[in-house]
């Protein structure tokens, strides 16, 4: 186990260096000069542009910029954006919004998804099962953008149940609607994964044996079936949490939530290398961390999985 963890951490370090460098170079080679575009259709005076380029070291070769950036990282400095604000501060201000949104959505996926999956799995072929099946197909096939705008217009504007935008209403009301919208996609997957898993487990030999032994159905399902069916779902849920933390750009924009996704989107638009690399690196670290965690949890849940 220690060797396993050690190997994963080493991999993590290599991925980290590789990814930050690649992203830095990619942002650097995006066509167009970010400083010239700062003022958009009212360009800044040439002398100001030159001054800003020097200030942000954009006049240096990319490898020097990268070394400077990594050097700063070790000193705890994530760099500055083109308006002079430290990237670290900007990210710190935005993580709470994204984390709140992601965890709310995730909690919805976990609770409702696992429950629905369990119920439909036990009553497979019934009316509820079919209804949920149709529902999940719909949920996965409608683009999140369409869902978001529609939900905003129906539940926010016409019914007035939720605020349309911003975080000022606080949790939960400001986060619930966007969370439901982004949860729907994952929810559908969780439900169907869980359902399939439960159906398989219910047909397995040990369940038949337990039933034959006279164990109450409640115990069979609640303890044995649950535990055996949840492993594949857990893998999905963990990866999905990583996705939720980084993949909510569209929803953050529609609902005006100043989260990390919106920051990344803005930074890509303005070619702010340090911000893009900072956010992307954080997201990659989250993905890597969750994947290590999944492996560990899986091996705990299922002793047959060994990491040599």
């Amino acid at each position: 186990m220690i060797r396993f963890v050690g190997r994963r951490v080493l991999e993590l370090a290599i991925v980290f260096v590789g990814v930050t460098f690649i992203i830095y170079v990619m942002v650097f080679t995006l066509p167009g000069d970010p400083i010239a575009a700062l003022g958009r259709d009212r360009p800044l005076p040439e002398a100001v542009q030159a001054q800003l380029r020097a200030q942000y070291h954009l006049d240096e070769p990319v490898w020097l910029q990268y070394l400077r950036y990594v050097g700063g990282l070790f000193a705890g400095d994530l760099g500055t954006g083109f308006d002079g604000r430290p990237v670290g501060d900007r990210m710190a201000a935005r993580w709470p919004v994204t984390i709140t949104l992601a965890l709310t959505a995730w909690a919805i996926e976990v609770v409702i998804g696992v429950l629905l999956g369990l119920v439909t799995g036990l009553r497979n072929g019934g009316l509820l099962d079919r209804t949920v099946l149709v529902g999940t197909i719909l949920a996965t096939s409608i683009p999140v953008f369409v869902l978001g705008v529609t939900a905003q217009l129906v539940f926010g504007l016409q019914l007035g149940w939720f605020p349309i935008a911003g975080t000022s209403a606080g949790w939960p009301s400001a986060y619930l609607l966007p969370a439901i919208v982004i949860a729907l996609f994952g929810l559908a997957s969780v439900t169907r994964l869980m359902r399939g898993s439960v159906v398989d487990t219910m047909r397995s030999d040990f369940v038949r044996t337990l039933t034959a032994k006279g164990m109450p159905r409640r115990n069979i399902v609640g303890v044995h079936v649950m535990r055996n069916s949840v492993a594949p779902v857990l893998t999905f849920l963990a990866i999905d949490l990583g996705y939720l933390l980084g993949g909510t750009v569209v929803i953050e924009a529609i609902f005006n939530l100043p989260g990390i996704g919106a920051l990344l989107f803005d930074a890509i638009k303005t070619h702010e290398g340090p911000t893009v690399v900072g956010v992307a690196t954080a997201l990659i670290l989250i993905f890597l961390a969750t994947s290590v965690l999944v492996d560990l949890v899986n091996s705990l849940l299922d002793p047959r999985i060994r990491h040599e």
């Binding site: 167009g32 995730w106 609770v111 504007l157 349309i164 849940l301």
Partner: protein, 529 residues
């Protein structure tokens, strides 16, 4: 086995609990205590300092008072200035009104202005709006194109006494009083405390205007300004304005519909329906903005003036305006926006009118058009429909193989245009900050005038004519008519639309006023009872 199951459940519960506690702060509602408060949707400003801000005009116009204010009826009012006068249009004497203070209680003096303008001009400060003071003598010493600055104070600025200072310009310019009007934010004064720590000032700017900022600026948090008790000018109609940042202006628009926000600008995608959805609460303010279809004059296919004229006559401005902009714009009939005084409306004549047959005939007469025509515009800004419509016009009416091609983003577009690396017609627009023909003609037609290659035609005679008009204009813009005649002769690019800036308001507002710069006048918002 049983125990492990419980840990799994506990894990799920723990996560749910984390979600519950990780919540943000609660909302705040005002207005119940009789405070006249309004909210306005904005783009998160990033920088607030007048000499630096790029998208915080509304905030700036609320927190600072300009020297002069141009009213909608064209009269120039004096706000912080008592007078702005000159004998020769070169040396201007600005006298300030007595008794005005900054929000920190310090008096607004001639020295405040001189120090502020020097700070804006000083190269190493890299103030984004330093171009606004570039016509003052000594600017190039502080902000040389190459090398280090040789001075920290512009020699053209002289403090006469506490309330008087003089400004020497590099050439005669009759439009100077307009250059210190409401939207030229770099000309606003800053208090002495600003100069010690410009970064701190940017987080909490202190102005001399009707509203003062309450708390420090925090990225993506609403900015609250309240009426400044000791403001020496006209009292605003509201006590408090909250500027709420929105990532997507469509969301702000929807929020006004729901009544959660009082004022928002209308995104282009909502213009066709805004009138229907808002009725009287939809405002389209005439603005000093104009769009052209830039033409690549470095390409020989566009050398014949008849080709350029044919392109202009093949564009159905009326229909495009009705369908894409809900009729909010005005088809251009001159080379500067109609709101700029003295603009010879109609000077473009039949060249700006839709006449597909005449256009085709003219193009054939010029020998036709070889090859394909790719209209290049900045992508991601909601301009696709507009340029597709123009491409359709040109394809159908001129038989040219025209398509509209977006760039990846603004940076890519501006790079290519600045480098003349475009071989088709392209996006070209300018929004002036003060309504004078000078403020539109210079950026477009003078090299380094501001809009690089917007219209890549820099003619000595046009520049000379603009200089003459600057020196001699009696104040009604009539002197610029000669410039427009010269441009018409060469017809370097078809003007497309005089722009309007559009806003919608909630039920809380009964009337939204404006000024000739096209922004809402936040000091004069009328609230519904």
């Amino acid at each position: 086995m049983r125990r492990k199951q419980r840990t799994a459940t506990a894990g799920v519960l723990l996560v749910a609990a984390m979600a519950l506690t990780a919540c943000a702060t609660g909302g705040s509602d005002t207005a119940d205590d009789g405070t006249r408060a309004i909210t306005m949707g904005v783009t998160d400003p990033g920088t607030l300092t007048p000499g630096r801000q790029l998208v915080a005009y509304d905030f700036n116009m609320a927190v600072w008072a300009p020297l002069t204010f141009l009213e909608s009826d064209g009269t120039l009012n004096y706000v912080q200035a008592e007078s702005v006068e000159s004998e020769d249009n070169i040396t201007w004497t600005i006298t300030l009104k007595d008794g005005w203070t900054f929000h920190d209680g310090t008096p607004v003096t001639a020295q405040s202005y001189v120090d502020s303008w020097n700070t804006v001009a000083y190269g190493p400060n890299a103030f984004e709006n330093s171009g606004q003071v570039a016509n003052i003598v000594g600017y190039t010493d502080l902000n040389p194109a190459e090398g280090e600055p040789t001075a920290t104070e512009m020699s053209g600025l002289t403090v006469v006494d506490d309330s008087t200072f003089t400004v020497e310009l590099i050439g005669p310019d009759s439009q100077f009083p307009l250059q210190v009007s409401q939207a030229q934010t770099a000309m606003y004064p800053m208090p002495e405390s600003a100069f010690d720590d410009l970064d701190a000032y940017n987080t909490h700017p202190v102005g001399n205007g009707p509203f003062e900022l309450q708390d420090d600026y925090v990225e993506n948090e609403p900015l609250v300004v309240t009426a400044f008790e000791d403001y020496a000018g006209d009292e605003p109609t509201t006590d408090q304005i909250t500027f709420v940042p929105y990532t997507d202006d469509t969301t702000a628009y929807t929020d006004v519909q729901a009544g959660n926000l009082d004022i928002a600008s209308v995104p282009a995608s909502r213009l066709p329906q805004a009138d229907e959805e808002f009725g009287d609460a939809f405002y389209s303010f005439e603005a000093p903005g104009i769009s052209y279809l830039g033409l690549p004059l470095w390409d020989e296919r566009y050398q014949d003036v008849r080709v350029r004229q044919a392109i202009s006559m093949a564009i159905d401005r009326e229909t495009i305006n009705d369908v894409i902009y809900g009729g909010a714009y005005t088809p251009a009939t001159a080379f500067t926006p109609a709101i700029e005084p003295g603009t010879p409306e109609g000077i473009c004549g039949e060249l700006c009118e839709y006449d597909p047959e005449a256009a085709k005939a003219l193009l054939d007469e010029a020998g036709g058009f070889e090859g394909s025509m790719e209209i290049y515009f900045p992508g991601g800004g909601g301009l696709d429909e507009f340029y597709n419509a123009i491409a359709n016009n040109l394809r159908q009416n001129l038989g040219v193989d025209a398509t509209a091609v977006p760039s990846a983003d603004w940076a890519e577009f501006s790079d290519k245009r600045t480098a003349s690396d475009i071989d088709g017609p392209f996006f070209s627009r300018w929004g002036a900050l003060y309504p004078s023909q000078q403020a539109t003609l210079r950026p477009f037609f003078v090299e380094n005038g501001g809009c690089a290659n917007c219209i890549p035609w820099y003619d000595e005679s046009v520049k000379a004519a603009i200089d003459t008009a600057d020196a001699t204009d009696p104040g009604d813009g009539s002197a610029y008519a000669d410039v427009q005649d010269l441009i018409l002769e060469e017809f370097p690019a078809p003007p497309l639309f005089f722009e309007t800036y559009s806003y919608v308001t909630s039920d809380a507002i009964s009337d939204l006023a404006t000024s000739p710069v096209g922004n809402p006048r936040l000091t004069h918002v009328e609230l519904a009872d």
